[in-house]
Symmetry: C2
């Protein structure tokens, strides 16, 4: 910034954070999901930064993307070398876009994931083994309901803002539709109000890559060889969609990996091949293949426009007192700016207070995860202008 402030660069300034857990819906009082299925008990993993005011009016709910987790900022106590800051560390901390001197920031792992919140890899209490495909299909709406129950547990009844990108942005919008009176402002980033055919297509190919791996075994691999090969291919597909043509040109171009000439074989020739293989092989160490299936399907089902009553659609929040800041990125071709504009038109027709910013960036869909002071400044200014009451 012009004044020399580089707060957004201070990695880990949000401090040491511990993952916490809250369990509810103990049988027989299971939770009814949107599909009608019952699920319980449900554990939600979450982390918090900053201090809750006595009035509990400074809550920022961060909702994460497809493969994210509750660890949005700072370091875990056991990360002695301080090498693994949270995934949005550039946005959360003192003086950052989500300023922990002002706000009490919460991030919870989504339902269906494998990072502490109940998902297909969790133990099914009825069998004593992981749910696998017996896990009921859950929706983005179900993710919001589990977050709502967590906030009730914490005694929080209003959100200064709810913010997130990609599948996180879908959760932002679903929050507004389900609990418009709880949300003072909402910041959906790099997202859409309904999943497009292109986005469904990429997700379906990723799911197929997992499901054709014989080790997937119809989801029953938890005590056996895992479908790492299929999962790696699925992640490679994802990574192509997260980048952009321009980002790849700049980052890799046609540069070769570790040699001067072509291999004339099927080993890695190009840096971009090496990058994708690396991303695939790293992902299988930390993520569960069945969680990929469930979460991508939840994203595909996401549609706030065409909904049958009694489900509320995005038009039904007409006149709600939510301030919206919609953010898109020029090079995002998974959820392109035209989809942000469709969202904005829908919100404006519902008489809502909407601001819009398209950020010029050539990183593709992943741009919202990359440290960029513009996003922090934009969000910080917007939140300062959002009344606390």
């Amino acid at each position: 910034m012009a004044d020399g402030s580089e707060a957004y660069l201070e990695v880990g300034s949000a401090g040491i954070v511990e993952k916490q857990f809250f369990t509810f819906a103990d049988p027989p009082d299971k939770m009814r999901l949107e599909s009608g299925a019952l699920l319980g008990p449900i554990t939600v993993a979450y982390e918090t930064w900053g201090t809750l005011t006595p009035q509990k009016d400074n809550v920022v709910l961060v909702v994460h993307a497809f493969s994210g987790d509750s660890h949005a900022a700072g370091f875990y106590p056991d990360d002695a070398d301080r090498t693994k800051p949270g995934w949005w560390d550039s946005m959360i901390g003192p003086g950052k876009g989500l300023d922990t001197n002002k706000y009490f920031v919460i991030c919870a792992n989504i339902l269906g994931s494998c990072m502490g919140t109940t998902g297909p890899s969790s133990i099914n209490p009825e069998t004593g083994t992981p749910y696998a495909l017996d896990f009921p299909m859950m929706t983005v709406g179900d993710m919001i309901e589990t977050q709502k129950i967590l906030l009730d547990h914490l005694g929080i009844s209003s959100l200064h803002t709810v913010i997130g990108g990609s599948v996180g942005g879908m959760q932002v919008l679903e929050w507004c539709v389900r609990y418009p009176d709880m949300v003072r402002s909402a910041i959906p980033i790099a997202t859409t109000m309904r999943h497009s055919a292109l986005a469904i297509a990429f997700n379906e190919v990723a799911r197929q890559a997992i499901m054709v791996d014989p080790s997937w075994n119809r989801g029953n691999y938890y005590n056996a060889k895992k479908p790492d090969l299929g999962l790696a291919v699925a992640r490679m597909i994802g990574h192509v969609t997260y980048l952009s043509d321009e980002a790849m040109r700049r980052k890799f171009g046609r540069r070769l990996q570790n040699k001067d000439t072509f291999s004339y074989g099927f080993d890695v020739d190009f840096m971009v091949e090496s990058y994708l293989r690396h991303q695939g092989s790293q992902f299988v160490k930390r993520f569960d293949a069945n969680s990929v299936l469930y979460i991508t399907k939840a994203a595909d089902y996401f549609d706030l426009v065409d909904r049958e009553p009694p489900m509320r659609s995005i038009r039904d929040i007409h006149g709600a007192r939510i301030k919206f800041l919609v953010i898109s990125y020029t090079s995002d071709w998974l959820y392109p700016t035209y989809q942000a504009k469709e969202l904005i038109q829908t919100l404006k027709r519902a008489d809502l207070d909407v601001s819009f910013c398209e950020i010029e960036a050539d990183f593709g869909h992943d741009a919202f995860l990359i440290p960029d002071r513009r996003l922090g400044e934009l969000v910080g200014g917007f939140l300062d202008g959002t009344p606390r009451h």
Copy 2:
């Protein structure tokens, strides 16, 4: 057309055509490939339409894309029901863009393929079994050399035009670089002068999808279970890249397949999922997985800009008397218009005669394969204006 001519709609007007074969490079006189490897014998499958003039000055060479074949137009004699016209039937025939009343049209299956020309599924004469991964890696340049030998065999020493899209467009450009004095005009469509990182990335993910299928077995599956599951996923990836966001919205949107509600499971919900699965399952019936590996790799290696001497680069055709018509499509995001423009700038700096047309179409990369009178009229007019000598 305004005059009511609908010649481009007359399916099969190019007539009945038979696949022909020409074999050369019989051992010990094998052909030396760009990699330095030796290959032989080599059989090339080809088909022709129209009549060669006594002066042999009316030859149009059609070069096909990645999964194409020599059957570009008309019907095979055994296609009694006339259900399988060639892949560019809308372009080849009397009164069509490549008018068989005027031109002698040739299309040959590319080296490395599996549709009649020698490739990894062909029998290695040294072992009596299919080459599999013992097939030497071939390049786009090697494809051109086999076509050149076929033309020599047919007594043809000049081409009125060489035309093709996608990997076919790469062959068009490679023809101009290798044999500039043979080519009077060239029509590269929906292509690039060097494969981008994004295009390499998609190809690499497709290759990985095949190679992680246990049935691939390092390429040795010809007398066993084939890697159909991996190949189907690879084809699904390809099909996403061949379409466009807009094409998918129009063709599929979020429409459901065969039911009114979500399955809340991993069966097909959306029409686009069904489409992709169908494309994958159909492809495995007609194409060889190893050919996908070899041809995608040849495309990835394709680069007419950065070439070490003695290889000629595209700049080295400075002053050649080739008329170029470069065609791109607005919605092609595999080889976008900006890459066509880079090609045009390079050609113009080399003092070449270049015309350019960007066709407005929302079909994505595949647009050049879809019957469209604009392409036929454009090509027909351009060829009429190309001198025979």
